[in-house]
Every structure is written in C-alpha cells, then in structure tokens.
C-alpha cells in the first residue's frame, strides 16, 4: 500500500497541490480536533485552554520518544527499546550521582559530580542504541526482535542496579533541578521546552535536510537506496543512536523530576510511542509519515484516554480504547489513501 502511495505521489506531484503525507497529516489533525470537540460535549469542563495545553504537556515524554521512533519507522525499522532506556538512563544518573558511603547498598552511589553523572548515563543509553544498530545493521536480525531484547536488557540492568526497587536517597541538591525548572518566567517546565525544541528540530531535519529525505528513501525502497549509493547502514545506525539519546535524556529528566531512579519507569512507553506514530499516519512498512502527524497522533491518544477518565470509566478501559483507536486509524488511513490514489 505504501509503495503504491509513494509512486502515486511522485507521479502526481506536479498535478496535485498536496502530497499524500500532507493529506494524511491533515486528516489526523482534523480527527484530533473533531475528537476534542466531541469529548467536550460529553465530558464536563473538557473544553478549556488549560486542558488543551495539558493534553500536550502531560505527554512530553512519550512525544519526545515518538520522534526517534517515528524516524526509525520511516526508515523501515522498529525501536521498542526506548522504554527500557528511559529506565536505564534514569537509574544510572541516580546511581552515579549518589554520594558514596550511604547507610545501605541502595543509598550508596559513585559520588560523581552531577554533570559527569548525566553524561555517563547518556553514554549508557547510547550503548544500548549502538547495540540495536549492531544487531539490526550488521547482523541483519529483524529490528522488532532485537529491540525487544535490548528493551529487556536495559530494564534488566536498571533492575540490577536498583535491586528491583528504586534509589532515591543521598542525592545532591542539584539533582532535582533539571526536571522541575521553569523556563522564561512562565510555568513551562524544562522537559516541555525540551520536547518543543526537539519537535522543531525534527520537523526541520525531516523537511529541509538531505538526511531527512534520505530516511524516506531508505524506508520506501531499501534496495534502490543501496544501489544509488546511499550508505544505508550508517544512516540507520545514526537513527538508532539519536533515538536512544532522546530516550536517555527523557530518562534523566524524569529521574530528576521525581528525584528517584525507578527501574519500572517508562514501562509500556515504547508501545505508546509506537501507537502515537501509527495513529499519526507513520507507515510501519517505512517510507511514509511525518513528525507533525505523530504529534497529532499523540493528541488523539491523550484525548481518548483523558476523556475516558473524565467520563469516569474505569482506567482499565484505556487498553480497549487504545486498541480501537489504532485499529480505526490504520483502516481509515489505508482506505483514504487508496481512495485518493485510485
């Protein structure tokens, strides 16, 4: 389906004003707006500016992860390891920064200065990304299996470091600053600003740089990309390193926000990041999708889950709602594209 869509796009670029991608992004955005209005009718106090903002700001972590995951999906690869990396880098940053000589094993760390602790934690995150790249690019093992394995590996290391629970004592004062700092005299927190800047950079890379366009080429037709001299292996390696770097930063910010390194933090975040990318029209077969679409996918997911909570449905409903949302998104997008390119 995606291949035909791409052919259709390239053949008709001069005739049509809007690309298939812009079309799908617009579709997703209008669904998000429609859903918001619909939810406002059902849920009391839903239609408020603060609520609209919260839908985005509460999900800064998943949206940030979604950027790396979307780029990889566009290149035709999965990254399910991001949730594990969030736990790993957070736990490592705590462990490295904790002072030596605590009362017990869990309150004793390496006593590094904070800047060095987070640098080393990012190194740990990048190591997992490098492992992903090694297995996917060099060994040619399907990315879904590799990244499921590294997800468990990363979380497993985090669990060993925290002995299955969490580390939150004996931390330096500056540890809690990054995650709770507000920016520009407003109530916008640093993590949210991080997400916004990351989004802008990602949109720029995707739209305006050779690197971004190559990602689409590789995903749309890997063989043609190789034949035309694109270093596919290097490209995918960079993408895995970027994705793990983003996940590492998210992990450090979350650890700082809660002032603790918790080995189960980020559980299922990899699936949410995948889900918002799919909701936003990123094609799993590669070569199709956009960061803006992913962003609106996140908004859709946020509306669906928070509206369910607002309607006092049991929180258990979120799983079924997620399933239905992804199902409908995939079916409609396939249908809409097929109709458009008929």
């Amino acid at each position: 389906m995606t291949v035909t869509a791409n052919i259709g796009r390239s053949l008709s670029d001069d005739r049509r004003k809007m690309s298939d991608e812009a079309f799908i992004t617009l579709l997703v955005a209008s669904v998000a707006v429609g859903l918001f209005l619909f939810a406002s009718l059902l849920v009391p106090n839903f239609f408020q500016l603060l609520n609209m903002l919260n839908l985005v700001t509460n999900n800064w972590a998943v949206i940030s992860l979604g950027i790396g995951v979307s780029f990889l999906l566009v290149s035709g690869n999965f990254d399910l390891s991001v949730g594990g990396i969030v736990a790993l880098s957070g736990v490592l940053s705590v462990w490295f920064a904790q002072a030596t000589g605590g009362a017990n094993a869990l309150s004793t760390g390496l006593g590094l200065p904070y800047w060095l602790a987070i640098t080393c934690a990012l190194g740990g995150a990048l190591a997992i990304g490098a492992l992903n790249a090694l297995f996917v690019v060099k060994f040619r093992i399907p990315s879904i299996i590799v990244t499921l394995g590294t997800m468990m590996l990363a979380r497993g290391i985090a669990q060993v470091v925290t002995q299955g629970s969490q580390r939150n004592t004996n931390l330096p004062d500056e540890f809690g600053v990054l995650g709770n700092m507000t920016m520009f005299d407003t109530s916008v927190k640093l993590p949210v600003a991080f997400m916004l800047i990351l989004l802008l950079i990602a949109i720029f890379i995707e739209r305006k740089t050779v690197f971004g366009r190559l990602t689409y080429w590789i995903g749309a037709n890997p063989i043609a990309a190789s034949l035309s001299g694109i270093d596919k292996e290097k490209h995918v390696t960079y993408l895995y390193l970027f994705s793990s770097l983003i996940a590492g930063i998210v992990g450090i910010l979350l650890a700082s926000e809660f002032k603790s390194g918790y080995s189960n933090r980020g559980t299922l975040m990899e699936f949410d990041a995948l889900v918002i990318a799919l909701l936003g029209g990123v094609a799993i077969a590669g070569g199709f999708g956009s960061v803006v679409g992913m962003f609106f996918g996140a908004v859709i997911l946020a509306i669906v889950t928070s509206a369910a909570t607002g309607m006092v449905l049991s929180p258990d409903w979120q799983y079924i709602l997620k399933a239905i949302a992804v199902f409908l998104a995939i079916v409609t997008q396939t249908w809409a594209l097929a109709r458009r390119n008929r």
Partner: protein
C-alpha cells in the same frame, strides 16, 4: 522437511555432517549443559539429589508444573513463526483465557464445559488475529499489538474494580477441583496441564512432519509468492495457524489459572517475549520457512530451568537481564549459523 534434510545429510561431506548434526541436536546439549551447571553450582551446600539442589525430584516436578503454559505455547508459536508471521497478543490471550476460565468455574460451571468454553474463546481470539492479518491486511506486528491491548483491556474489565484477580471472596468460592488440573499428580508426579502440553506438542510434531499444514506453513514462510503460485491457499494456512496459537494460549491460560488458583488479568504479561525467545533458542529462522516444534519445546524447558533454577543462585531481580541477554544471544547465534550456511 525431515526427509529432505536426511537426504542432504547423506550426500554431504564429513565436516558438513558434523555441522548438520550440531544444528539438529545442539539444543539437547544446551539443555544438559544448563542442568549440569545448575546442579553443580549448589554442590558445596547440598548433595546432588538433596532437597535444595536443582535435581531434587520435587524441584524438577515443580519446575515442570510451572512450565506447563510456556510448553503448551511453544509448538503452535513455532509453526506460526515458521510461516513468517508473529503473534504479540499471546500473553494477553493467555490472561483473558485465565480470567474467563476462572469466572466460569467460580460461577459454578463444571470442569469440562468451562474448559471447552475457554478453548472456544481461544479459537475466537485466533480468528480475530487471523481476520485482521489476512482479510484486512494489517501488518502482523500491528494487528497483534492491537489485539494485545484489546484482550488485556477485556480481561481487566471482566475483573471487578477494586480486586486484582478473580478469586474466592464476596460470596463466591473457587470450586475444590479448580487447581487439580495444574497441580494434582496424574502420572509420574506431574499434573494434567503438563501432559496436555506434551500431547499438544506431539500432535504438532506429527502435524509438522506428516501433514499438509506443516508443509504449507514452511512453504508460506520460505517463499510466500511461490507458495501461492503453486496453489497453496496461504490465507487459510495463516488463519489456521493463528487459531492454533489462540487455542494454545487458551490452554496455557487454563494451566496458569489452575496452578495459581485465580484468574489474574496480568498473568500472561511478557509471555509473548518468552515465546519468541523459546522459538529463537530452538533455532527457528525469523525470516520464516524453517524451524522445528520439538526444538522449541526443549528451548522452553531450558528457559524455565534457567529462570527458576537461577533463583537459588542470584536474586530475582536478575531475571529480566538474563532473559534479555539470552534473547540477544539466541538471535546472534541464529544469525551466525544461517550466515555460515549461505556462505558454504
């Protein structure tokens, strides 16, 4: 497939024969290696067959009882992966089956009808997956991710708010027979659930070697286009395989729920990872087309022996790390083996 590999064996040179032998039987060496390792590791504290050591008979029986769900799943999951498809929803399907089975039992339905209805639910779950993948042409990973969420959501909703699982209490009581399926020894000290797993595996080994389903599964995974062109109804094969996995997941759910005496909507979490791991350890190629049911069964024994046997040596929080590392190691070694083959 078994026959063709026999023929190629006789026509190959000595070095290749050794490689082929290793490829076919390495899994048994790994199993023996793990067992030896786990029994030797504690020798300084306990005698070989003494209580506390790995080979203590009650310990072995206990491990086999706990393994029943994974052992039941391994075979059908292998066939599905041989045909080039995947099912990430098995864990949720297992949880949902466990909840359904426990609900039926606690509301007074006798053993056999409850069992049959749960298996029927498994057929339904398999059909949903098959429908999404084959008819709606949704990529298997996404389709089964959708049903993972769906089955889990239903399982959680079936359990009342405020309780974590379906169990005795609030005027309802689990019947006495409930945990005998997963715990009570029927033969050689092992319960029904384990023997059902063995029967399922034998049936699937036979199906793989002697029936058209096995051949069609291999053909579908090896080269889908060629399989279609030679008249195989690949859609039908794939739907059948999803139904088989659904039924196995239901049986696994029954075994788990009976063993724990409750219907826990989270009991199957992570089972999809264990199933993938087991199938990879069994040497199934992820590209499809190759793999043996029996080797995955042995792979499941290895994983269960390792994860439970390990508990006497290191704290429980090492489990995720070990399973993740094992998954990557199995994937890497599969890669090395298949690369050697294409090179020679």
């Amino acid at each position: 497939m078994a026959q063709s590999s026999d023929i190629s064996q006789t026509s190959l040179s000595g070095g290749h024969q050794v490689a082929q032998f290793l490829k076919n039987y390495y899994i048994y060496f790994v199993l023996v290696g793990v067992v030896v390792l786990l029994s030797v590791a504690n020798l300084d504290r306990y005698d070989l067959f003494e209580r506390g050591n790995f080979l203590y008979d009650k310990n072995i029986i206990n491990i086999l009882r706990i393994s029943a769900p994974l052992l039941t799943l391994a075979g059908a999951f292998t066939l599905l992966m041989v045909s080039g498809y995947i099912d990430l929803s098995v864990g949720s399907a297992m949880s949902l089956s466990a909840v359904i089975y426990a609900m039926l039992a606690i509301n007074g339905v006798p053993f056999l009808p409850a069992f049959a209805l749960t298996v029927l639910a498994g057929v339904g779950m398999g059909l949903i997956n098959g429908f999404l993948v084959v008819r709606l042409k949704i990529t298997p990973v996404i389709a089964t991710l959708i049903t993972l969420s769906l089955f889990k959501g239903i399982a959680l909703l079936l359990v009342q708010d405020g309780v974590s699982a379906i169990k005795s209490g609030g005027g309802l009581k689990m019947p006495v027979w409930f945990n005998s399926y997963g715990r009570e020894a029927v033969w050689l000290g092992l319960p029904m659930a384990f023997w059902i797993a063995v029967v399922v595996t034998i049936a699937l080994v036979v199906a793989q070697n002697r029936s058209l389903l096995g051949k069609y599964a291999a053909a579908t995974g090896g080269n889908p286009t060629a399989a279609k062109l030679s008249g195989i109804n690949t859609s039908k094969v794939v739907i059948w395989l999803y139904v088989l996995v659904g039924v196995s997941a239901a049986l696994a759910g029954i075994a788990r729920s009976s063993f724990m005496s409750l219907g826990d909507p989270l009991s199957g979490d992570g089972m999809e990872l264990s199933a993938i791991l087991v199938v990879l350890i069994g040497g199934t190629a992820f590209s499809g087309g190759e793999g043996r049911v029996l080797r995955s069964f042995i792979g499941a024994l290895i994983i269960m022996a390792l994860t439970i046997g390990m508990l006497t040596l290191v704290p429980a929080y090492y489990q995720t790390l070990v399973i993740g590392a094992a998954l990557l190691a199995a994937a890497a070694s599969n890669h090395l083996v298949s690369r050697k083959e294409t090179a020679s």
